[in-house]
């Protein structure tokens, strides 16, 4: 899922300063699961903004809407009947959702209430961690399910490096060294011979280095 963090309240309130009729958008997908921008978080932020503005003597009208998804046109278009009734939209969806709503409604600003952070997993209730960077050329078969692109701070392919000490990365004493995890997995699965294979330089053109990516399936187009 896409994991995000809410922006600091001061930043949010500064963005909303000129407006008094606000549409506050949430999303029922990833940001709901990572407890950042679902209907609950939308309700809390709306309440917080109302209380702040009431205290300042500049009350605000907020409509709270949580779409099923903000990254699909059929859901975004459901905002048609009322989006233009509001001076501005603020979104608690990920960066994709914020942009997509903005693309559909020219002439209306869509402000971000959250910082989209990474693609990750729920390690335990309330703890999320990064697992994928979407490099476009998966190597998990070679590294036995542990991604060196994401989990190694240097994204190296023939690790570990000299910064690996006692199974931890030099970047953070609590961060496991991805290559130590990979070597341990090779041992566990009696595949250490595979570890000896030198990996050639990775072609990063499939990653962000090749510019924004697009996928088209002609058979699905209507």
């Amino acid at each position: 899922m896409i994991v995000a963090n809410r922006k600091p309240f001061e930043e949010i309130i500064a963005m909303l300063k000129p407006y008094s009729k606000i549409l506050l958008l949430g999303c029922n997908e990833c940001v709901t699961v990572c407890a950042t921008g679902g209907s609950k978080e939308v309700a809390v932020l709306a309440s917080e903004i109302r209380l702040y503005r009431q205290k300042e003597g500049r009350p605000v009208e907020i409509r709270e809407v949580t779409l099923e998804r903000n990254c699909d046109p059929e859901y975004v278009e459901s905002l048609n009947p009322f989006l233009h009734d509001y001076e501005v939209a603020m979104s608690m969806a990920c960066g994709c959702g914020i942009q997509f709503v903005g693309e559909h409604y020219r002439g209306r600003l869509v402000l971000p209430a959250i910082n989209t952070t990474f693609e990750g997993v729920t390690e335990e209730h309330g703890v999320w961690a990064e697992r994928c960077q979407g490099c476009g050329n998966c190597v998990l078969d070679k590294t036995l399910g542990i991604c060196p692109v994401t989990r190694c701070a240097k994204s190296i392919f023939n690790g570990p490096c000299g910064g690996s000490q006692g199974g931890k990365c030099e970047v953070d004493k609590d961060l496991p060294c991805a290559w130590q995890l990979i070597v341990d997995r090779y041992k566990e699965m009696n595949m250490l011979d595979k570890y000896l294979e030198i990996q050639p330089m990775k072609d990063w053109s499939t990653s962000r280095d090749g510019g924004p990516r697009k996928r088209v399936r002609e058979d699905l187009k209507i």
Binding site: K40, V44, S47, E48, R50, L51, Q54, K55, E56, G57
Partner: protein
């Protein structure tokens, strides 16, 4: 016991303090409450095991939210009492009322009243 406690304390019954979400208390402040406190069972005595422990964490989070929006986190509190502690319940009601009275009215409400 016929104990008395301040009449401005309005009691809202819930099956367990674990039911109380942050938004419920925020709504109370939006509706003009000057303070709010949760009274849960003693820690370790929760019928649902961890309801009162979760409530305490939520109150801590709520304090942070109320500080952020300028209402003041000190306006919320969590107490743990057993149902046999009527005397203590009345004391808590007095203590909280006194604390909120010293803090003054909810600032969001103050502005609304002034505007009228």
């Amino acid at each position: 016991m016929r104990l008395s406690y301040p009449t401005n304390v309005k009691i809202i019954k819930v099956p367990c303090t674990g039911r109380v979400d942050v938004i419920l208390i925020l709504k109370a402040f939006e509706n003009g409450a000057d303070g709010a406190y949760l009274v849960g069972c003693l820690e370790g005595d929760c019928h649902y095991l961890v309801g009162n422990l979760r409530a305490r964490k939520r109150v801590e989070y709520l304090k942070h939210i109320l500080d952020e929006c300028g209402i003041g986190g000190e306006r919320v509190a969590m107490y743990n009492l057993s149902s046999a502690e009527g005397q203590h319940f009345a004391e808590v009601a007095r203590e909280m009322t006194e604390k909120i009275r010293n803090l003054g009215p909810n600032p969001a409400k103050q502005t609304a009243v002034r505007k009228i």
